[in-house]
Amino acid sequence: DRKRGRGRGSGGRDDRVKGQGRGCLLKEIHLNVTDLGLGYRTKEELIFRYCSGPCFDAETNYDKILNNLTHNKKLDKETPSRTCCRPVAFDDDVSFLDDSLEYHTLKKHSAKKCACV
């Protein structure tokens, strides 16, 4: 939940880590809507949640093989991706009123659950 009087945006952010220990975790950051870079003019704010962290321990033989083949240049220039820490569920939509008193709604804008995929 939001803490009042906390710095937002660059630097003054309040990272909180959901989930335990290391690896692919759900993190959140308190932002102004304008920080999202989507071009909306509003003074409203939101919590942006995202997935981040290594996925070493979720790797399969497929990833090991991919790593070896890439290392030994068996796949020419291709570098297919290995396990990624990604959202497997998205947050509910968020709506806000912009400076021209128009309402906007953002879908699939924030992660709800993360996993190595």
Binding site: D57, K64, N68, S81, R82, C84
Partner: protein, 607 residues
């Protein structure tokens, strides 16, 4: 009694076989001089049975009618065939009898291959076929039986193909053999009783001489006469009939002790299971109920040839077997006699008596007067193995269940002092013989008064609840790790993938406080894979011990059951062999070559 020297008689028979002509002769071997075989044609199920006549005395089958073309087609057959089978059954009895008794008699199958053609003419026929059928089946005679004719060598159905030829038979053998040919009847005769224990098979060469108008032709056919066994040899022992047995530490149900061998020159068939031949039955001669309830004799046998002069015989093995666990207090000596009786051997000496002199010693549960001293580094992390405790001879115990416990030596110390004793724990896996001491809590070790701990180890034998105790002193020495305060930063050693980070980190179960690196040398998949371990003395050692099984993070290399990623080999658990470096995250293990720098996980698109 009477028996047939063959399992089946076969002969081919043609259209045109004349009424009254002989087609085949069956024989029966006799057991005693007074026996006289009476043969009868048992099966009359099919119409063709009536085409044949059986001479009750000679066993000669002849035709009641001449075989016509229509006879061939009269035989129902599911398929169109150039040859049809005529299956007859012949019974033999030592008294004249009717067909109704057939089901109770020894019988033999007679199979005629009725060929939808007339017999070949003399010019066409291959001469050898006048002498011998294509496939000569091997007869058998039972040992110790009366001499007598066992086979008619002439081919009745082919005798009239070349009436002007004279066919005679003789028999040769590589080694002396009691067989001859009756010149008048051309029957193969065994001339004397044979002893299977001398020779199991006689390799004969049948010689057929055909005198045609111009020349004498000779044909050979080999014949193996198998000698069937009967129980005509008593069991015997070679050397000792007594076995001295001492039962001490190994007292578990099912354990076998000692071996006494009994030899028998006869064969012992394992199939069919209900066949009673050469069956040795053993009986305990004692009535002592304790002995009867506690011990039994295990009997196994195997067939051998070399020791019986290259003739099959049987070697029986008898072992004493516990039928229940023995208490540690049990102490007694007794002689157990076991009478082995060859139930199918007719003679009086069909038994041998085996003697097992058994001495059962008690097993004291005690620690020899020692005090256990263990020193542990203060750097040791939780689950570090300190040492193991074990009553005398415990490693030899089987069937003796001893559990171990730790207790504070001095009960009267303050509660605060008592809390020190959390530092050391004792673990024991089921069926494991020792108790393993380990560091249970490093928190308390920061207090100086907790750095020398006096315990009492209590060993309790589960069946009788006997107990034994001894003193145990654990001394924590050296300096603690500066990071002690941040104890929860102790991670599994197995996660580390390089020597540097491994030896720099504090891992669970590390007696020195630091993880230890094992560097593999081999190229492929090897038992000596590189890995980071809390204690190379116990991990990896392909055994998930009592401490390691308390927490998967201690030694996943020995205990993990999850699929391993990369090149590996596994027995039941853990990593038996791995490729390059093996490392694990909460029980999930990976094995891969070390020198690969780890490629960025995602390609550019993911950035």
């Amino acid at each position: 009694g009477l028996y047939f020297p063959q399992r089946v008689y076969t002969e081919s028979i043609y259209v045109g076989q004349l009424q009254g002509s002989q087609v085949l002769q069956v024989h029966s071997m006799r057991e005693n001089p007074t026996e006289r075989p009476y043969f009868t044609l048992c099966s009359h199920r099919d119409t063709y049975a009536s085409w044949f006549h059986m001479d009750e005395a000679t066993g000669v089958l002849s035709m009641n009618k001449t075989l016509e073309w229509s006879d061939f087609s009269s035989i129902r057959s599911s398929l169109v065939r150039p040859v049809k089978d005529l299956n007859l059954k012949v019974g033999v009895s030592s008294v004249p009898m009717q067909k109704a008794l057939c089901p109770f008699l020894p019988t033999v199958e007679v199979k005629f291959m009725f060929i939808n053609d007339t017999a070949p003419s003399c010019g066409q026929v291959e001469l050898k076929t006048l002498c011998f059928p294509d496939k000569v089946s091997n007869p058998h005679i039972t040992e110790n039986r009366m001499p007598g004719a066992l086979r008619q060598l002439r081919r009745f159905t082919h005798m009239n193909i070349c009436p002007n030829y004279t066919i005679s038979y003789a028999v040769e053998a590589v080694s002396p053999a009691p067989f001859a040919v009756d010149g008048s009847t051309s029957e193969l005769v065994v001339t004397a009783p044979v002893d299977r224990e001398e020779s199991e098979v006689y390799h004969l060469d049948l010689v057929c001489m055909i005198r045609t108008e111009e020349k004498l032709e000779k044909f050979f056919s080999s014949l193996h006469v198998n000698i069937y066994d009967e129980d005509d040899n008593p069991p015997y022992m070679n050397g000792t009939d007594t076995e001295d047995i001492k039962i001490e530490f190994n007292r578990s149900e099912g354990t076998v002790y000692g071996t006494l061998f009994v030899y028998d020159r006869d064969t012992t068939p394992v199939y069919p299971t209900d066949l009673i031949q050469n069956k040795l039955v053993g009986t305990l001669t004692t009535n002592d109920s304790w002995i009867r309830n506690t011990t039994t004799i295990e009997h196994k046998f195997r067939e051998e040839k070399a020791i019986f002069g290259n003739v099959r015989g049987t070697v029986h093995e008898y072992k004493l077997k516990l039928s229940q666990n023995l208490s540690v207090t049990e102490q007694r000596s007794f002689q157990l006699d076991y009478l082995v009786n060859d139930t199918t051997f007719p003679g009086p000496e069909g038994t041998v008596l085996l003697h097992f002199n058994v001495t059962i010693l008690p097993v004291p549960i005690h620690f020899s007067n020692i005090t256990y001293f263990f020193t542990v580094s203060l750097k040791a992390t939780t689950y570090s193995q300190i040492g193991s405790v074990c009553v005398d001879n415990c490693l030899k115990f089987k069937g003796i269940d001893v559990t171990y416990q730790l207790e504070i030596a001095d009960r009267n110390i303050s509660a605060d002092a008592q809390s020190c004793y959390w530092a050391v724990g004792l673990a024991q896996k089921p069926n494991e013989k020792t108790g393993v001491l380990y560091v249970n809590d490093t928190e308390v070790l920061r207090r100086p008064q907790c750095q020398e701990l006096q315990y009492v180890v209590i060993a309790e034998e589960q069946q009788n609840k006997f107990q034994a105790m001894t003193q145990l002193v654990v001394i924590f020495e050296g300096e603690a790790d500066l990071m002690r305060l941040d104890e929860q930063r102790v991670l599994p050693c197995a996660e580390k993938r390089q020597r540097g980070e491994c030896e720099a980190s504090r891992g669970l179960g590390a007696p020195t406080g630091r993880c230890q690196w094992r560097q593999g040398r081999d190229k492929g998949i090897s038992k000596k894979y590189s890995t980071c371990s809390p204690d190379l003395g116990t991990c990896p050692d392909a055994y998930c011990d009592a401490i390691e099984s308390k927490n998967i993070s201690i030694c996943p290399q020995d205990c993990s059951s999850q699929p391993i990623i990369g090149g590996y080999e596994r027995d039941l658990y853990g990593i038996k062999a791995g490729h390059g470096t093996c490392y694990c995250f909460s029980g999930k293990c990976f094995c891969e070559k070390d020198e690969l720098e780890v490629f960025p996980i995602c390609d550019d698109v993911c950035k």
